[in-house]
Symmetry: C2
Subunit: 258 residues, 2 copies
């Protein structure tokens, strides 16, 4: 048995995406790697799980390949569940998800399949990190990102991550930015101003495409949006105890009589 | 124009589910109601949104019906987005989601389509509540739940809900429990111990069904699980700033040198 750490790799863009190939390459320099990733793109899947359909799992690596690789018909969260329960023979020391093609900063964390995989691993008690690059294109430059991915993953392996916390890492696109370093941040208060692009089918029936514009309302200089705009890699610790503890006292003043 | 509050109703079990019919009935006693709900069940969809496909929206209420009703081909989060942007002519005073057929207590909040609709409304700045009944059956008894749904929704309309907070309400099944009242709680630390039921296709290929057992690790008497087990309706304030603020200081001690 290897003494090297065992690292589970997944994503939401599917197992053939350049982003996951980058992540696999970096993780192979840190430990033994097993990949269980969706067989097709799953962007915007949030924390969906497959409960009304069956799951298929196929080994896609060949004999002699350095890294075991499986594709799964499910969502990113499904991939983590099936990896831990059916694929791996021991608990992984780290789960990494990504590198996502596009940002998962700020409020995007709640829509993100990439982050849902990391959160799922966190719920299972496994240190986990989601990585995203602020470049949606399929042939984005992931080369510059590698150094930062390795530094953060190495720290997670050496220091561990507290129970109940996973990391959301976003990396500026090297197309526009010279990366200055890494900053620990909080999630910016921002949202999407949706626009629905209304069209007509050839038969004359209306249908819609969801589009929108990201709006950052948060002027703080300790947010992920601020760090990214200044050319830093943002690291936000994310929790899955969603309780708004500060609001419990207030709710206890509500009157529930008939 | 009516002076009554405008209430948006949605769910994840689909527009024909008994749970949403109950919720519509209760909300009609509190304000003007518009329904935009999925045209098919969306359980376990988490915070999924539809970005790689089109959305269909169909008016299903008839002329003279008390309440405007639309079905949408998307997820619960899509329903809220399209309702606000394409259906409603003013901002709703409240968005309610459910009543879900089955529990969304504790960690289930992250997998829940019901709660994702409430969170989506919250992100848009609209007071929002997700309601769930601890009974998975289609012909569950929603009658007993009505009183508590009305009390909580009325408080939300009268008091408002702070920005950044939505409510996760779970209601014991009246089959097994005499409901004692309402308790404000925190989310219990619990998770699912997955089991994959491995089967074979008629062609001899393996496939899997995700199943599992819910395990509560949290002995606190201030949790939603505890309240529900004692026969109380649980109300958990839920936030969508996922930052683990307490962990930022720790992460700032990590060494990011090469």
């Amino acid at each position: 048995m290897s003494k090297k750490p065992l690292i589970l790799v997944t994503n939401d863009d599917g197992i053939t995406a350049p982003g996951i190939l980058t992540l696999i390459e970096v993780m192979e320099s840190l430990g033994d790697v097993v990949v269980v990733a969706p067989d097709s793109p799953q962007s915007g899947m949030g924390h969906a799980i497959t409960i009304n359909n069956v799951l298929h799992l196929d080994k896609v690596s060949k004999k002699g390949d350095k890294t075991l690789q499986y594709s799964c018909s499910g969502t990113p969260a499904d991939c983590v569940k099936i990896a831990i329960n059916e694929v791996l023979d021991r608990r992984p020391d780290l789960c990494v998800s990504g590198v996502n093609h596009g940002s998962n900063s700020s409020i995007n964390v709640i829509y993100s399949g990439t982050m849902s995989a990391a959160v799922e691993a966190g719920v299972e008690g496994i240190p986990a990190i989601g990585f995203s690059l602020l470049d949606y294109s399929w042939d984005a430059d992931f080369e510059t990102a590698k150094k930062y991915i390795k530094q953060i993953a190495k720290n997670a392996l050496n220091n561990g991550i507290a129970e109940g916390v996973v990391l959301n890492v976003n990396i500026p696109s090297s197309e526009n930015t010279k990366i200055k370093g890494i900053k620990v941040c909080r999630q910016a208060r921002a949202n999407w101003k949706e626009k629905f692009d209304k069209r007509q089918t050839p038969q004359g029936k209306d249908y819609y495409w969801l589009t929108g514009e990201f709006v950052n309302y948060d002027k703080g200089n300790d947010t992920d949006e601020h760090a990214l705009s200044e050319g830093y890699v943002s690291v936000v610790p994310v929790q899955f105890d969603l309780t708004a503890h500060h609001y419990i006292q207030k709710l206890n003043s509500w009157q529930f009589e008939d």
